[in-house]
Structures are given as structure tokens and as C-alpha cells.
């Protein structure tokens, strides 16, 4: 092997070690007891691995006044993520379909403005959205957070489907038109079945994004529906007293588990989502 090749592999291996390090620290810390953490080295392997911290993180860790672990947050996140994946994708697909095949007048301008929305920091809209949702009496509820995810997911999802439908052969649409298919029939019977790959990519993106959201859940979901990320942050950063690092790390892994599992299982689909979402415009 040439020296250049050795250097190349050395660089890649060093980088891989650096990237793996936090995952290793998370897992090994979560398997240690507090005594072992206090005495030992952060990078040391656990001497007597125990799942005690995981049990505690799931069902006992304290967030403010209550001590029920992150499990409540987990189920809240599930209840938020399901509708916040299905509805925005359905609407994104419909938008993309109408935009690329029917081209209503003025729709492109509308789409251009919507796309700008993908770049806007949510802080710009938060106060008015809070007031609007309060005015229709849903602020701080499950419908509120779903609606907000619908709003913030729409730019990228619409873009994704618009580009995807633009890449389909136009004859597909024309043939369906000649057969007398109307707007909804073509969407339902021709386009949706043809967009399964994009639906998968969109679902992966949306589940990962919604599950990882912190700020929207914190503001809009309301006290009874706080997602797991918010609860996790509360467990670790607002609890006074002794910091239970093993419990904290177990809770962190539990929170990251859903998107990580999707990532490891879906592999190339996840990368496709990144590539598709990055081609803005």
C-alpha cells in the first residue's frame, strides 16, 4: 500500500473514532453506577454493567415536580409525530401534484413565497402564531402542535413532491386525462401509487424532524403533551441536586432512539431525503 493510501485510511479511521466517541460515552455512562462514574474515567468501559439507570430514566427520573421518567414524553412524542407525519405529507403531496400538473395561475408565486418560509427562523412567527391559536382556542393542545408542524413542514414537503412529480413522465398524466380522470381521481389512483418512494423518503424526514423538534413542542404542545425532547431537557437541566449522569445518558439515548433506529434501518433512503431536501428551488 502506498503511503498516501495509508494516510487516507488513517484520516478516515481517526475521524470515525471521533464521530463514534459520543455514542460510546453515552452507552458506557448509561451502564455504570454513580459510584463508578465518580471514581472513574469518562472513557473507561463499565466494570459492572447494569441497566438500572435505563429503568430509572424510563420510569423514575424527575422533571420538575413529577418523577415519572421520560416515558410520558415518549408517548406524547408518538401522539404528536403520527398526525404530524401523515397530514403534512398528504398536503405536501397534494400541493406538489397541483403545482406540477395543473399549474393554477399564480401558484408559482405562492410556492416561491412558501419556499422562503423554509429558511425563516421560527422565532419570527412564534408570537403571532401563539395569539392566533389562542384566538381559536386550541393553543397548548395536540391539535395546536400538529397544526404548527403542518405549517413548518409544508415548504420542504411541497418542494419534495413538486420536484418528484416533475421528474415523472408527463404522459402518465396526459393518458389519465384522456381517460377522463378528474383532479382527485388522478391524484388518488395514479399519482399517489406512483409516489411510494417519495412517500417513504418524506416519512423518514418528517418523523425524524418532528421527533427531534424542541422549540415548537415547548411552546405549542401544552403542559400535558410535552414531547420527549422537552422532557429530556427538563430532566437534565432543570433538576436541582445531585446530577445522575448515568440516568441522564440513558434518557438521552432513549430520546434519540427513534430517529437513530430509523436512520440505521433505512440507510440510503435517509440519504436520499437529505439530497432531495437540499435541492431547494
Amino acid at each position: 500500500m502506498k503511503p498516501a493510501r495509508i494516510g487516507l485510511y488513517a484520516f478516515l479511521l481517526t475521524a470515525a473514532l471521533f464521530f463514534m466517541l459520543p455514542l460510546y460515552v453515552m452507552i458506557s455512562t448509561s451502564l455504570k453506577s454513580m459510584d463508578e462514574i465518580r471514581l472513574g474515567h469518562i472513557f473507561a468501559l463499565p466494570m459492572a454493567p447494569t441497566l438500572e439507570a435505563w429503568r430509572s430514566a424510563w420510569s423514575e427520573a424527575c422533571t420538575g415536580a413529577s418523577c415519572d421518567g421520560v416515558q410520558a414524553g415518549f408517548w406524547n412524542s408518538v401522539r404528536i409525530t403520527l398526525p404530524s407525519t401523515i397530514l403534512p405529507i398528504a398536503l405536501g403531496a397534494l400541493n406538489g401534484y397541483a403545482l406540477s400538473f395543473w399549474r393554477p395561475r399564480g401558484a408559482n408565486l405562492l410556492f416561491a413565497i412558501l419556499l422562503l418560509g423554509a429558511f425563516v427562523p421560527v422565532q419570527v412567527m412564534i408570537y403571532p402564531l401563539v395569539r392566533m391559536l389562542a384566538a381559536i382556542d386550541v393553543y397548548g393542545s395536540l391539535p395546536a402542535i400538529v397544526l404548527v408542524h403542518l405549517v413548518f413542514g409544508m415548504p420542504v414537503l411541497t418542494l419534495l413532491f413538486r420536484n418528484y412529480y416533475a421528474s415523472l413522465p408527463h404522459e402518465l398524466f396526459q393518458a389519465a386525462r384522456i381517460d377522463g380522470g378528474g383532479f382527485w381521481r388522478i391524484f388518488w389512483h395514479v399519482m399517489l401509487p406512483a409516489s411510494v418512494p417519495m412517500l417513504v423518503v418524506a416519512a423518514i424526514m418528517q418523523i425524524t424532524g418532528v421527533w427531534s423538534d424542541y422549540i415548537l413542542g415547548l411552546v405549542f404542545a401544552g403542559r400535558d403533551n410535552l414531547p420527549m425532547t422537552v422532557q429530556l431537557n427538563n430532566v437534565i437541566n432543570t433538576t436541582t441536586g445531585v446530577r445522575l449522569y448515568n440516568v441522564n445518558m440513558a434518557a438521552t439515548i432513549l430520546t434519540a432512539l427513534v430517529p437513530l433506529a430509523i436512520y440505521f434501518l433505512s440507510g440510503r433512503w435517509f440519504v436520499r431525503g437529505i439530497a432531495a431536501g437540499a435541492v431547494k428551488g
Partner: protein, 279 residues
């Protein structure tokens, strides 16, 4: 084929409502509030640009802008360099490409909150006996720890996009370069990088919007501390909206943040439309 009927218009009503109410309407509202004397409750007392004056005389806001600038430059630079190096190395027919890509990209599947919390723990002083690393609690250096965590999270994303760009480059270039005896690094610098231009521009824009939105990672990793040493604009706005009851000032901050985004986007959009026009 031009017979469209009303259905397409009807189907786009939710999008129309979203754009008009949630985006344009909300922005107009925020802009209006920034011109009023609103504090904990909204007020209609018009005070012109006074909130903006207050904002730019606010030490905490100026500190957060300063932090964001440091963070933004370092984060984008580091992500670009690391992402490009990883992509270029992986692109040179290495064994274990799939595994390497998986390892470099998995942090991107983790939330900013989880990322911030892991790095908070790793960088907690005293974690490694006999090795004092205390940047996390050092007022002057804490922002660099946030950079470190974010670069770890996002450089795999840059790698994935760059790799896609590299795979689109004609392999003939390498043959031609080898025949002419041009060293590999030279080809990357003078041929490959310029060809990746559009990819680089897209990546920089995506990273820049991540920078402006920076919030979760700071909240989970440092809570803006020690003191106010790692404050960032997005957090300043949230704190003034919900904790410090100063809606007018927060709205002025939000408008400034939005203008920053637009200023970043404008040259990019311009370059794109010119490229389309010449293509």
C-alpha cells in the same frame, strides 16, 4: 389540456392559507409589534423605531450577535472543510465505504437537544482525571464548545451532499489528469472544487440557515451560560417573549433575524437565477 376547472385552486387553499396567514400574516404582525411599546401584553402605542434602538443598545443582544458571528464563521468553515475531506477520502474507492458513511452521518439523525446534552457531559470538567478541560464553564471559550458539538452533528450532512456532488463528476477528468501527471491534490483544488461550485453554494446556504436558527443546542448544552456568555439571538428572542415579558423588543429581534436571513439568501437566489438564465 387548459381546462383546469376549480379543483386545483380548491386543493391549494390550505397552502394559500398557510402562506398568507402563517407566514406573511405572522411576519406582518411581528413587524407591527416591533413598532409598538408592547411589553408583557400587546400594546397599540406606536413608538416607531425605538425598540430597534433599544435592541442595539442592549448589551445582551449585542453579545448574542457577536456569539452568532463567531459561531457562524467557525461552524460553516469547519463543516465545509471536514465534510469535504471526508467526502473526498470516501470517494477514493476505500473499503468499508458504507460503514464509514453510516458512522459519519448518524449524528445528523440525533436532535440538537440530545447532541447538546451528550457534549455537555463529555466536556464537564473533571470527567477525565488529570486532564483539566474547562471550556464549558469558561466565559470566553464556551461558544467554541457549542461549535464543536454542532460540527460533530452536521459535518456528516455536508459529507453526504458533497459526496453526491463528487459522484456527479466525470471520471474522465481523473484519467486526463493522470496522463498529464498532475498531482491529485492539485486536481481537487483547481478542477473538482470549482466544478462543485453549485453544491458548495447550496451547502453554505443550508448551514447558514442552521446558524441563524441556533437555539436548541445552546439551551440544552449551556442554557446560554455561564452567565450570559453563550447567548444567541434566537434564545434572546425566546427569553424576551416568554420569560422577560418584553414582546416589543423580542419582535424587533425577530425582524432583525429575518432580515439577516434574507440578506444571506439574496446573493444566492440572484446567482441561481443568473445561472438559469445563461443555461
Amino acid at each position: 389540456m387548459r381546462q383546469r376547472g376549480v379543483m386545483p385552486y380548491f386543493a391549494l387553499l390550505p397552502m394559500l392559507a398557510t402562506v398568507c396567514v402563517a407566514y406573511l400574516g405572522a411576519f406582518a404582525w411581528t413587524f407591527y409589534v416591533s413598532l409598538t411599546a408592547s411589553r408583557s401584553i400587546a400594546s397599540n402605542k406606536f413608538i416607531g423605531m425605538a425598540q430597534y434602538e433599544r435592541l442595539f443598545n442592549n448589551e445582551r443582544w449585542m453579545l448574542s450577535l457577536n456569539n452568532l458571528a463567531i459561531y457562524g464563521v467557525l461552524f460553516i468553515l469547519a463543516c465545509m472543510v471536514i465534510g469535504f475531506l471526508l467526502a473526498a477520502c470516501i470517494d477514493r474507492q476505500v473499503t468499508g465505504e458504507g460503514a464509514l458513511r453510516t458512522v459519519f452521518l448518524y449524528p445528523y439523525a440525533m436532535s440538537f437537544v440530545a447532541t447538546g446534552l451528550v457534549w455537555q457531559w463529555i466536556l464537564t470538567p473533571g470527567g477525565i482525571p488529570g486532564f483539566e478541560f474547562d471550556w464549558l464553564v469558561d466565559q470566553d471559550k464556551v461558544i467554541y464548545t457549542v461549535v464543536l458539538a454542532s460540527v460533530w452533528q452536521a459535518s456528516g450532512f455536508v459529507m453526504a451532499l458533497m459526496l453526491a456532488g463528487l459522484r456527479g463528476i466525470d471520471p474522465e477528468i481523473w484519467k486526463a489528469a493522470r496522463l498529464d501527471g498532475i498531482p491529485v491534490w492539485r486536481v481537487y483544488l483547481s478542477v473538482v472544487l470549482p466544478m462543485l461550485g453549485p453544491t458548495l453554494a447550496t451547502v453554505i446556504i443550508l448551514l447558514a440557515t442552521m446558524v441563524v436558527k441556533l437555539y436548541d443546542a445552546v439551551v440544552s448544552m449551556t442554557q446560554g451560560g455561564p452567565g450570559t456568555a453563550s447567548e444567541v439571538p434566537a434564545k434572546f428572542i425566546m427569553d424576551h417573549l416568554f420569560l422577560r415579558a418584553n414582546i416589543g423588543l423580542a419582535s424587533a429581534g425577530a425582524v432583525v433575524l429575518l432580515l439577516t436571513v434574507l440578506a444571506l439568501l439574496a446573493p444566492y437566489a440572484y446567482a441561481r437565477s443568473r445561472r438559469r438564465a445563461t443555461a
